[in-house]
């Protein structure tokens, strides 16, 4: 029982990272119509920059600076490389471009910081176990859950109650009409891409505190995030978050009984969802069928 709880909680934490990644991916997917294969790259950028800045800014400063810098680099990438591709209706090109970026970022990270794993120091205050019986529930893990929940709620409030949020949602529904109503959709898409990268960077810093830093860490988190979106339902941010948590939890539980299948199980779950409910748990009808 203890072991099951331990693995389930580990899985949940993993699921939190999937959810954060999936949230950013889903934002970019719906408004920018880009499958951002470089999303893992932005995660790595956020994590490594936080690691580098940690000695100067402290953990809290790095926690803010890492994601913000990842978002800034995301904005530059969107402006320079992705914007020219919007006018091509075939999604093939943005997919290939971000794929190339993913390779470049992983390789450059390895060159700059080395292939070895690096630890991200977390302050002791939040890193001690909460109780002796449930030693795996450290303060940091609760902190990760709290920050992620805050970020997700923040995004929800932004999309629900601000003018920018209304515009993003409108652009997701019908980009042409939104543009015709006088919204600068280029700026809107750029901001949205930046938000997506901000979430990737945040996931990177938070994950680094638990998993440590390695150059391929982003590319190993990105595939489950796709699965999270497919299971949760394309077009639903809530679905993406829930999908991430579900697959993380499922992987954790399966680890207890049959460790070898812990990765395959999430893809099997995806196949089942695709057969039973092709649009995903909270997907919009028609968008995906």
């Amino acid at each position: 029982m203890q072991l099951l709880l331990f693995n389930a909680f580990n899985g949940l934490i993993q699921g939190v990272f999937y959810a954060l990644m999936a949230l950013g991916l889903a934002l970019i997917l719906s408004l920018n119509s880009v499958i951002n294969m470089a999303h893992g790259g932005f995660l790595v950028i956020g994590a490594y920059l936080a690691f580098t800045l940690n000695p100067y800014l402290g953990f809290w400063g790095a926690l803010v600076a890492g994601p913000v810098l990842a978002a800034a680099i995301g904005l530059a990438v969107e402006r320079g490389l992705i914007r020219p591709l919007y006018k091509r209706s075939d999604p093939l090109y943005s997919l290939l471009l971000t794929f190339g970026l993913a390779l470049i970022i992983e390789d450059m990270t390895r060159t700059i910081w080395g292939a070895q794993g690096l630890p991200l120091e977390v302050p002791d205050i939040i890193n001690s176990p909460v109780s002796d019986t449930y030693f795996f529930i450290t303060g940091y893990r609760l902190f990760v859950i709290g920050i992620t929940a805050a970020a997700a709620i923040g995004l929800y409030l932004l999309l629900r109650y601000t003018l920018l949020g209304v515009r993003i949602r409108a652009g997701t529904r019908d980009l042409e009409t939104t543009a015709a109503l006088g919204v600068n959709i280029y700026r809107l898409r750029a901001l949205n891409f930046g938000f997506g990268c901000l979430f990737a960077g945040l996931a990177g810093v938070l994950a680094a505190g638990i998993l440590g830093l390695t150059p391929p860490m982003g590319n190993s988190l990105i595939m489950p995030s796709f699965v999270a979106i497919i299971i949760g339902g394309v077009g639903s941010l809530f679905g993406a978050v829930l999908g991430g948590l579900i697959i993380g939890l499922a992987a954790g539980i399966v680890t207890t009984y049959y460790p070898a299948a812990s990765e395959a199980v999430i893809y099997l779950m995806m196949l089942i969802v695709l057969v039973v409910r092709p649009r995903g748990l909270f997907g919009e009808e028609g968008l995906f069928e």
Binding site: I35, D90, F99, L103, A264, V275
Partner: protein, 312 residues
């Protein structure tokens, strides 16, 4: 028949390849690899370039073919033809079974689902240690001499190249014939205007399923040859990075032309071979190739000469 002459010339050059390739610093196995990748990418191009289905998980079927062939040789029977047959069936049947899950999707969603499905097989091969060799890959098998009645053909590197060339020729002829058939014309019609085709009463998803399955079979066929070439196969052969490489090879050569992928494969495989001997950062250079092709040459090398094709 004005195309017959260049095709005959290309084929003659391929037959003579073991003689001229070493002169320019290549080796016969590199020629085999190019032809194997060409089979895989040309079959993927049936889906990508001719039907307009953005499959980004094709390496899964390539790798399944490789593992099917390798495991047949290792555990079942020492027979090269049987290995090729079983590997091809393994990958092809997987594609056929998964086809219904993707056939209704369009564009970006088609891509996302094919990517994610491909990873399932990756993890099966990585984690099913005892049988597949896990991360280290499947080794400990070797291609066997071919017995034709009393005639025994030893599969040296040179003879294996000719076996690959034979397979390449058959596969190319098959794909050419498919594209000339009503089936092939329907694929192109799906790419051009799927909705209109549906208004005409054509059940387009069935044709997408057909091309997905056929591409799966032929890609798996190429995968079996790849495993036999190196007497080895690893999870990298079904990783999404290889899927992405397949797609960029096609775009590099020209995705609207039948032989475009062959040209793309030649450029990409040679560049990869050369870069990885030159620098440890070859991944960055491959990534830069992706970015440059997308931004500057979206129609590929053959597209530069062909003014009719447009970037959609």
């Amino acid at each position: 028949m004005k195309r017959a002459l260049p095709i005959a010339a290309i084929w003659a050059a391929l037959v003579a390849l073991p003689w001229w390739l070493p002169l320019i610093g290549g080796y016969t196995a590199l020629g085999s690899k190019v032809l194997i990748y060409a089979i895989a990418t040309m079959s993927l191009n049936l889906l990508l370039g001719f039907t307009g289905g953005l499959s980004f998980g094709q390496a899964a079927y390539f790798g399944l073919g490789g593992y099917g062939a390798g495991m047949t040789l290792k555990y079942l029977a020492p027979s090269t033809p049987l290995a090729i047959l079983i590997g091809t069936l393994a990958g092809g049947i997987a594609a056929t079974l998964l086809g219904p899950l993707v056939m209704r999707r369009r564009g970006i969603y088609f891509a996302m689902i094919t990517i994610a499905i491909g990873q399932l097989f990756y993890f099966v091969m990585v984690r099913w240690n005892e049988v597949t060799g896990g991360e280290d890959g499947l080794a400990g098998f070797a291609r066997q001499d071919i017995h034709l009645g009393a005639l025994v053909i030893p599969l040296s590197n040179l003879n294996f190249y000719y076996l690959v060339l034979l397979c390449f020729t058959v596969a190319v002829a098959l794909m050419w014939a498919l594209l000339q058939s009503p089936l092939g014309h329907t694929w192109v019609a799906i790419r051009e205007n799927r909705r209109r085709l549906q208004f005409l009463g054509v059940r387009s998803e069935r044709y997408v399923w057909a091309v997905f399955a056929i591409a799966g079979f032929i890609t798996a066929f190429a995968g079996t040859l790849n495993a036999l070439l190196f007497n080895f196969t690893s999870p990298q052969d079904l990783h999404w990075i290889l899927s992405g490489n397949f797609v960029i090879m096609i775009v590099l050569g020209g995705m609207r032309s039948f032989f475009g992928p062959l040209l793309g494969v030649i450029i990409f495989v040679v560049a990869q071979d050369y870069l990885s001997s030159l620098t440890g950062n070859w991944m960055t250079f491959i990534g830069l190739i992706f970015v440059f092709i997308v931004l500057l040459f979206p129609r590929g090398v053959l597209g530069i000469f062909d003014r009719r094709t447009k970037v959609a």
